[in-house]
Amino acid sequence: MKKNGFKTTDHERFRDFYLTTYHALVGFGNKFLDDPYATEDIVQDSYLKLYNLGKEFAREEEARAWMYVSVRNLCIDYLRRGKFRGGELNDTLVSDSFFLDEITRQEALLALRRSIETLPARTREVALLTCNGMSNNEIASHMGLTVNSVKTLKKEAYKKLRYSLGGECLIILSFLFVQ
């Protein structure tokens, strides 16, 4: 992960930043709106604002923080304007603790997503196909690999991700090993 400065005018860096944070911000905004389409627009607008700021952040985390604040404010505005029919603006939604807790949640998920993305391409593909419920044989023919190499890649994925046992992860584990 890049911890150094972040200039919003650096197009390639901005693209990286966008692709790593996109799902986290949509997930975050959706906790306020429970409306994926409206959330996506708001997230998009926030990125545009950040892009046009032409600012240099000392750390990338500061840019992430900036985005969370922006998305939250736009979501709350949106709710205030009453465009939202499915729910209402309540005290919980505007509280600081809700805001901070959701950031914590999204950042943990973002770190997980990044772990998956930094897996070597084939290992990642095997992990993702496994999650989609494909069998070893199916994965092997889909990727043009032997069943044995699929098994090896699965082990590699498990070693790198080391999911804790519990809930859905247990199911994934069994996919990784039992087959």
Binding site: Y18, L109, L112, I172
Partner: protein, 383 residues
């Protein structure tokens, strides 16, 4: 702000604790935060329960959103640039009047020096981006991991994908900058000529039951026939499926129309909502925001002019012609009379030639005259 940064760090630590990668320092920070309140513990537990690999990590979805974003950002910049040009032309007009008075007052024989604009584009080189993100300039000397080698002379910029080994295919991308073009020969015998300002992604080897490639920009495909494995070109607005044929795809993310033109064979052109089959000489036009594909007759010579390194405008509005030229030559174009934009011209000329060549051709029609100004060129009606 500090509170937010703190939570960003805590979030990362929660995941690191899950994988066992957490360091002593991190563990201390996390323990301290957990002990601060029972609410923190509850939150940490609920988050741990959600850390399943089934969370949404569809990178393609993020990439699509990014494409929409960059399109919007570019449109905004274009608008603000246009505003700036209007502002500067007002200043320039005022300056012109002042200078006019100055010269009229009978000052000595001085001539204003007009800045020269870049007139002859220098050819640049395409870049290959490997799946791991490393970038290599395409030239005769390419490392083995590029999986591609130059075939033909340095001038032609023609490359062949080796595709020999039996490792899993990797997706590589060729970025062709402005003032460049190149040809990629894929392992199945298909040839792809890629136009300036485009990105083209391909697998190092075709496997499975289809041959898939991705394009942002313009390219001409000569697809090798393989009835078992259809060839599919994906672009922003849709995709084209073929068995073996020749066709041109023009789909730049920052333009509102995408065009697929068929020169030989048959193709199936699909968007999310509709599809059509093209016959040779016809062109599918997909306009942003419209659901249907419009099929028109195309002049193949015009569509493929870029393959011959030519500009070929056939009965086109001056406004449209100059818009393309201004991007290519990087100059601003202004009009003394906006009505000029609707005058139609037919021009065919080399695109690596001096801009003044084209302007001279246009001026020869005696309909317009042009003048270099500080920032670009000014077109005026010929009196």
């Amino acid at each position: 702000m500090d509170k937010i940064i703190k939570r960003i760090i805590i979030g990362e630590l929660l995941w690191e604790r899950e994988t066992g990668e957490i360091t002593g320092e991190g563990r201390k920070t996390l323990e301290k935060w957990l002990s601060e309140s029972p609410e923190n513990r509850t939150l940490a537990n609920s988050i741990s329960g959600e850390l399943s690999p089934k969370i949404n990590f569809d990178r393609a979805e993020a990439e699509k959103a990014w494409n929409r974003f960059s399109m919007k950002a570019r449109q905004q910049r274009k608008l603000s640039l246009r505003r700036m040009i209007i502002r500067y032309s007002a200043v320039a007009a005022l300056l012109a009047v002042t200078l006019g008075i100055y010269f009229y007052m009978g000052n000595p024989a001085q001539h204003s020096i007009v800045a020269e604009f870049p007139v002859t584009p220098a050819k640049t080189r395409p870049v290959l981006v490997l799946e791991d993100g490393s970038q290599i300039e395409l030239s005769a000397a390419l490392p083995a991991n590029a999986g591609i080698e130059m075939t033909g002379s340095d001038e032609e910029l023609s490359f062949t994908v080796l595709g020999g080994d039996d490792t899993a295919p990797r997706i590589n991308t060729v970025i062709v900058p402005l003032y460049s073009d190149c040809r990629i020969n894929l392992p199945d015998g298909t040839t792809v000529s890629i136009n300036s300002g485009s990105r083209f992604s391909y697998p190092t080897r075709f496997t499975g039951d289809r041959r898939e490639v991705w394009l942002d920009g313009e390219a001409f495909f000569e697809v090798e026939q393989d009835d078992e494995m259809p060839f599919i070109v994906h672009f922003e607005a849709g995709d084209v499926r073929v068995l073996g044929t020749k066709f041109n795809v023009e789909s730049y993310a920052d333009r509102d129309q995408a065009r697929v033109t068929l020169t030989q064979g048959a193709v199936l052109c699909k968007t999310q909502t509709s599809e059509c089959t093209l016959a040779p000489g016809s062109q599918a036009v997909i306009t942003q925001g419209h659901r249907d594909i419009e099929v028109v007759q195309a002049d193949v010579r015009v569509t493929t002019a870029w393959l011959r390194d030519q500009f070929y405008f056939k009965n086109r509005r001056l406004g449209d012609i100059m818009e393309e030229l201004s991007v290519w030559y990087g100059v601003e174009v202004s009009y003394e009379d906006e009505g000029l934009k609707d005058v139609r011209f037919t021009v065919e000329t080399g695109r690596f030639e001096d801009l003044s060549n084209i302007l001279d051709l246009l001026a020869e029609t005696r309909k317009i005259s042009y003048r270099k100004t500080g920032t670009g060129i000014l077109l005026s009606p010929r009196k």
